[in-house]
């Protein structure tokens, strides 16, 4: 009796072969467009679109793509951009979140509401007006202009405020008793304890800004300021005829750093996205 019960429970917990089959079919369907692009990028152009088993493998498409457009410059721009945005975001959000989590002052609720406005009216849709601002400031076509609207991140402030509020007040008091100032307490108590949240936000921010397109497209117009996404779009729509092997090679090249990082640190990525999403 007991054994049979256990057997049903096990069977119950096991997904059926039909599930496994369906899950695998969906997964194959999901990677198919990507695999097709990978195949094309690594084969000579006469094979693009013609899947042949004996086709020779080559890295030539990547070399030609790299030489056809200033990708080195685009990589540099994107790297600088992403690092600039992330570091400013972290500093500003840490300070603001600390104020919201551990200070009492008049107007706190209004200030917090003002911050949260950015969660619904995000910079992505205010492109027309922000472009005018950048033109007034003389910043059009600079990396700074791409970053400025994103420096103060309501999301980061919200996330860190939640984390800081969860840190026991006794730790704070103990540090103060030992004579630490507010800033020292923040730096020595709060920041170290919030490390996982910083990692989570950093991964989310990096992948967002590495991939961001519309605002950089609007506010840049030269190679010196263009990030990878805009460079890739310009490259594949203007510079090339339709040489699919080069376009797919360029596409994979621009996504490679994030893709490789993701494959290496899958667990951290997935956990960071989860942590950032669950408030």
């Amino acid at each position: 009796m007991k054994a049979s019960q256990r057997a049903t429970r096990l069977v119950y917990n096991e997904p059926g072969w039909l599930d496994t089959l369906a899950a695998w079919l969906l997964a194959l369907l999901w990677v198919l467009p990507l695999l097709f692009a990978v195949w094309t990028a690594f084969h000579p152009s006469e094979y693009s679109g013609h899947l042949a088993l004996g086709a020779p493998w080559t890295l030539d498409n990547f070399r030609r793509a790299w030489e056809a457009a200033p990708f080195a410059r685009y990589f540099l721009n994107t790297t600088l951009l992403v690092l600039m945005i992330l570091s400013v975001q972290l500093v500003l959000a840490t300070l603001a979140a600390y104020a919201f989590a551990r200070f009492d002052f008049r107007g706190k609720d209004i200030a917090f509401a003002l911050v949260l406005v950015q969660l619904m009216v995000m910079p992505d849709i205010l492109i027309v007006e922000n472009y005018k601002t950048m033109a007034t400031l003389g910043l059009v076509d600079t990396l700074l202009a791409i970053g400025l609207p994103y420096f103060a991140s309501a999301f980061a402030i919200f996330l860190l405020r939640q984390t800081f509020m969860g840190i026991p007040k006794e730790l704070d008091d103990a540090a103060r008793v030992e004579g630490a100032s507010a800033m020292q307490t923040l730096w020595r108590v709060y920041v170290p304890l919030a490390k996982p949240v910083y990692t989570a936000f950093a991964l989310v921010s990096i992948s967002f800004h590495w991939n961001n397109f519309l605002w950089p497209l609007v506010v840049t117009n030269s190679v010196e300021a263009r990030p990878l996404t805009v460079g890739l779009q310009v490259f594949s729509s203007v510079d090339q005829g339709i040489d699919w092997s080069i376009i797919t090679a360029a596409t994979l090249m621009t996504s490679a750093p994030l893709l490789i990082a993701f494959l290496l640190f899958q667990r951290q990525f997935v956990q960071s996205f989860m942590r950032a999403g669950i408030k």
């Binding site: 997964a27 999901w30 008049r106 849709i125 400025l148 609207p149 519309l214 899958q266 997935v270």
Partner: protein, 297 residues
């Protein structure tokens, strides 16, 4: 902005405002000010050369309401939202339920589902452009195997919007899967054992136990999906440019065209207000209605 006025200013309050100052100034400069300025600009004509814009009242809105392309974008966007939201959430849920099981090749499955999420949308669009492209594309080779006639998916008005919708679902589903997976992993395993002992079918267990407990996650994902449906337009730049004949244009893409290709900033301001209203209503609806009804605490 120098602390609260009056005699009650404590050292703490001043300190707090100083901590907030840099973030608040930037938020005011690039979120609050542009929102208000957009509203004001939407009542002025587009400045031309040295002539500044003049007050025109609701004329920009009038132009917008009478513009058939605007209504096309609205219809398309509603269609796009109506398709991407349920499809990506439904697929995400199914994926999460599968990956949550002890299934053969679970790690590969999870990776396969999630990979599109880390790719830039422009790269995704390039990959799919190649996939859809006539003659070379994999899609045509597959349909050709079944003897179906060649079809230009992105080039015909009847399929262009559907084709870009598929790309959006492909990109989003894996992202939403993560949140469902996280929620599923926090569910108490004894719930499942109890259901097994009671002899509940898997469907019954899902419908009566898992689905209700996943409600807060569904809400969170839903709000994100709605916002993305009005914000995600990067792929249009590569795949269709809103065409053919505006068959696949979306609101934000149209806004870009009006604002940065026709440089009609007055009209663009009016369209921005429409988008702000849409997104703000989503957020307010979530905050005041849904959040209060869904949490099981």
């Amino acid at each position: 902005m120098r602390g609260t006025p009056g005699a009650t200013v404590s050292h703490g309050a001043l300190h707090a405002w100083l901590l907030l100052l840099p973030a608040l100034l930037l938020l005011i400069g690039f979120t609050h000010y542009p929102t208000v300025a957009t509203l004001i600009d939407s009542f002025y004509s587009t400045p031309k050369g040295n002539r500044p814009g003049v007050w025109v009242g609701l004329e920009n809105y009038q132009v917008m309401v009478e513009d058939p392309v605007f209504w096309r974008a609205v219809r398309n966007n509603l269609w796009f939202a109506g398709a991407t939201i349920p499809l990506s959430i439904g697929l995400a849920l199914v994926m999460a339920l599968w990956v949550n099981e002890r299934m053969a090749g679970r790690a590969f499955l999870r990776m396969a589902y999630f990979t599109p999420t880390v790719l830039p949308m422009i790269a995704v669009a390039n990959i799919w452009l190649f996939f859809y492209t006539p003659q070379y594309g994999l899609l045509e080779q597959i349909t050709g195997l079944f003897g179906l006639p060649a079809h230009n998916w992105l080039g015909s008005p009847s399929t262009a919007l559907g084709a870009v919708t598929v790309v959006a679902v492909w990109k989003e589903a894996g992202f939403f899967m993560i949140f469902y997976l996280a929620a599923l992993q926090t569910l108490n395993p004894s719930l499942r054992e109890a259901a097994a002992i009671e002899g509940a079918s898997r469907w019954y267990f899902f419908r009566r136990v898992q689905w209700p407990l996943l409600m807060p996650t569904t809400l969170f994902v839903l709000v994100n999906a709605v916002i993305n449906a009005f914000r995600m337009v990067d792929h249009l730049f590569v795949l269709t440019r809103g065409g053919p004949d505006n068959a696949s244009t979306l609101l934000l893409y149209r806004l870009y065209e009006v604002g940065f290709q026709f440089w009609d900033t007055g009209y663009a301001a009016a369209m921005t207000i429409v988008l702000v209203v849409v997104l703000a209503s989503v957020a307010l609806l979530q905050f005041f209605v849904l959040d209060k009804r869904v949490h099981y605490k």
